[in-house]
Amino acid sequence: MMNLLSSAGPAVAMSRLPRAGSAKIRESRTAARKKAKAFSLSLGSILAVSATLFAQPVRAQSMNYGALESLFGEPVTTAATGTPQRASEAPANMTIITADDIRRSGSRNIPEILSRVPGLDVMRSGLSAYDIGVRGYQQATQPRMLVLIDGRQVFLDDYSRTDWSNLPVNIDDIRQIEVVKGASSALFGSNAASGVINIVTYSAAYDNNIVVNTTLGTQHQRTADATVMLRGAWGGLKLSAGGLDAHEFDTPRPLFDGNITPENPAGTEPPKHRYIAASSDLAISDTLRASAELTHTRSVSNFADNTDFNVMGVQHDKSYSARAGLNWDGPLGAISAGGYLNHTFVTILETGTGEVGFGTKINLLVGQIQDQFKLGSSHIIRLGIEYRYRDYKQYNDETIIQNPHLVQNFVSFSGTWLWQVGDKIALANAIRFDHQTMRQAGDINTTGVFGYSDYKNKNDVISANSALVYNPTSLDHFRLSYGRGVMLPSLIQNGYSQISSFIGGFLIDAEGNPRLKPTIVQDLSADYNRRIDTLFSTVGTSLFYEWSRNITAPFLNGPDVIIDGLPALSNYAQNVGGSHGWGGEVQIKGQHPSGLRWDASYSYARVTDGSDVKAFINYQNSAPRHHLRLLLGYSKGPWEFDGAVHYVTSTGMLRNSYFSMMPVHTPGYASLSGRVGYTFADRFSVALSGTNLSQRVTQVSAFPAVERQISISLTGKF
């Protein structure tokens, strides 16, 4: 059975790889491959993976966020420029979600909380599987939004995506979530092409957040999380651990979704998550601090695989990270030096026999030095140098079919210049230059389209940001900004390698494409915020225009090649053209001294794709054009009441079925969520929360429908 789709595009045709049960691995030609046993391939497992990136500054928690927030009466962030700034003065379209917002949301997962941010599209494909798009650009395994925890990348370079079910963070230990919409590569490197989400946790050095939570809910949901801290004049230690067990939604899914077997007719596995994170901050002197962090996290989730054109699968992710840094506050400014290592194993099972499908190992090593200093009274400068190494290997539990080992090195130079032109005008500029080299250190087929020499490739890319800020009064904030972001191909797109045969001896040669060009995303934005004290509110409006070129589509058909004397159809990722979008947001958010609070917003995003982008990715129909959000809350004594309604219009995301690729119409819908919380004995609180409350089952995306969820949680703060 062949699963090749040739459609639409005149020059390129997309292809799916053989499904498990119908495919056998071609006997390998090398000695290593000859030892390989034939095994069944699952569809998405064949393609899996990729990565991207190099870039964001290593920012250990050297800044006392809590003290600065108390002083200025508003959150402080470094996510907009790399230097500390008050949220209201940041020269970027930024939303900061505070710990209070997180608690009142009633949610125990970050994407549900982010779904309340205007301009973000949160797509759910399973109980714990999410993708977060921005400004109308949505796809499974979303590559445009870089995600960090305390400045460390948790975005995975395999597919270029974030596995939201596998973050090593206790949601009760989050101080704030910073969301920047618009290209931010000049500061954070590639994959911050359309924005960045930085999750800031409480600091071992400065905060005292000892918290324990347990939650029980529908879908057999059970969570337990705890954070403990030890702090003294010498510094601090923090330990967080926790996990989730649940059952996947029972909503029906097509036969081609999931790892459906006689033993596992649902084709899913129960979502699971375990994590542990330990960090320390030592005060070596008044001006010198050292920090370190170790994390481990593992998860099981049922997710949508973009490289297989959105077929559902099961993924087992396992990550380890280690980080160390030094921060020196001296006469040369604030100098920080540090680095981290991320090591991730991913195993993916898709439709098939239940055998282990496809797996990858990825490493990411980042080393960075930066200095921030003031020049005179009006200029703040940040200079940074970064080295980044990442590599990618494919594996299977028993058999190595092809043995690619893609190695990429990056050297980056970056700078930020903030100029306070006068009392009312400020100019912010950032630029970054990245030099990338790559090589193929593994064992790949050499008679396909790309050989070893193609991997000896270089890329030089430039990212930039510029913003003009005008504050005519202390209440008004105008901003005009431009951003140029870079999205490197994922490691799978660059480095995949596999030859497989279908029944009948027909060969498929799936390859990485080392010659892919980076996707360039540029945007223009005009924003205006005004605080209206008489309404106890802040009103914000934003308009944007964004355009992308060299968009990459995964695994399209290429020319026929000869492998071992047999004809084979090649397929590999290809640049398929451009896309542009525009839209805007309007929001009013406030809180009355009586305890009433509100947040109402409307956002619009319209994307227009080039013909091949539309045929193979279809951004223009993958995200709702209209979002309406209304959040209302009220606090009275120990009680907190919060509710939210979110209405979105219809979508038509492309999905692969066994034989064809077609848009799946998802009608517009409204979802209702809420929380009632009660605090007792000063340090304990109990809360009843729910999502998708208005109906038992809601179709929220092209993936299996989601169910109503209700949970009760108990939290203790000490």
């Binding site: 003290a67 002083l71 604030a334 921030q372 003031k374 202390s474 004290d533």
Partner: protein, 185 residues
Amino acid sequence: MSIVKGMILPRIRFRWLYAGSVLAGATMAQLAPAQMTPNNVLAGARVLSFLQPALSGSITAAIVYQPGDAGSEAEARAIEHALGGGLVIGSLTLRPKRVSADALGAFAGAKVAFLTRAINSRLVAPAAAQRSIVTISSDPDCARAGLCVVSISSGSKVQITVSKAACNAAKVKFGAAFLMLVKEI
């Protein structure tokens, strides 16, 4: 016509006079140093946590007032009230001590001084700097003139001004992250 002119002109002049007096009043109000509010006191205390080396433990917070000036004395009482029996900010406790601008010898032992209106900052500044005291005022001109280390205004938005000259004179230093968030003159 002249009668008409005669009737109109004085009105115009009156309006100009009126507008001028309002403007002058507003300007004078703007120029007059703002009073140190409880919020300013709290912000001032928090500013101390960004000093390098960091202050900790119990320290004396001088409240400098002008004897005989009712406004200054009232403001001193308000600051004293805001500090209470000892304002705790992190590991730091500020214990208030009223100091007359005529008796700056009483500064001894203080690490921080809140300056009230009506005092002569030019006289206070050298005495405070000599003892490495962080002087905090609600008058932006005080820091602008290099006479106070920190000026704080906390109207609709907290605004902090730090004087480099006053910092150098008092030999006090703030952390880089803090300085990037304030106006440094």
